[in-house]
Symmetry: C2
Subunit: 123 residues, 2 copies
DNA sequence: TAATTAAACTTGCATTTTGCAAGTTTAATT
DNA sequence: AATTAAACTTGCAAAATGCAAGTTTAATTA
């Protein structure tokens, strides 16, 4: 029998916001999703080489959790895994967009860089 | 001299998504913002009594951090503080909306309850 | 005004999560 | 057959979280 998300991740309440934060409300999960959605990354090493330098054990842990939750899946053999977003994973796109818009609005970063981000994200 | 956000919270990169997650990408911050935006909560004890039962030390820590970041402020005396969202805090509304919509879409919770949430959030 | 209440913290300690560095395994390449 | 390197794995220190209890002081009540 297929496990539901609730058996993997403990929910603090039934609130949809709280539940979503229980799934991806940590510092790394949404960055992996970002890399898949906007940078076309699919492999362990591609994720590993993101600017934010995630460590190997955390990356491994998150890839497993995101897979269990059903936000991503993979194809390919053990040492050549290719990860991709599921339908559910793609549903996080609006979240990433609003998060990015907030970040851009309150960022002090270089305007040229922020324009690039907007272009990549089609905002 | 007033501290900028960057002196309080360490950024992992200049990416707006990453920066936003550095600010509110933990399990509690957005729930406090939710309580303020949608449930009209303003005091320590009101936050403490949310369904998700945050513990006192974490709540205290988050209220300080969110204030330092500039997402919330307070009025009133030491033992009668009333917290409110800043303009920047209000800018998180679209984030909460998209997070809630994702949560609702993938929730297995009671439909009547989810309808109530949508109504409260005006979704 | 003195005693009581309670809101807003504070502290201590156990558990969990994260971060860092190094090592291991095995498919693919040379 | 030896080498490379992608994908983990392990160990340990540091930080964040959770829980229970205690403290402080403004506001209320007697």
């Amino acid at each position: 029998m297929k496990k539901g998300v609730k058996e993997i991740i403990e929910k603090r309440s039934e609130c949809p916001i709280s539940c979503t934060m229980d799934l991806v409300g940590d510092k790394w999960s949404l960055l992996i999703i970002r890399d898949m959605l906007y940078l076309g990354k699919t492999t362990y090493n591609e994720f590993l080489n993101s600017r934010e330098s995630i460590s190997t054990n955390i990356l491994n842990d998150r890839l497993i959790k995101l897979t269990e939750i059903g936000l991503i899946t993979y194809t390919g053999t053990a040492k050549r895994k290719k990860y991709e977003l599921t339908k559910m994973g793609h549903d996080l796109k609006p979240v990433l967009e609003s998060v990015a818009l907030f970040g851009i609005k309150h960022s002090t970063a270089d305007k040229t860089f922020l324009q690039k981000v907007k272009k990549v994200m089609d905002l």
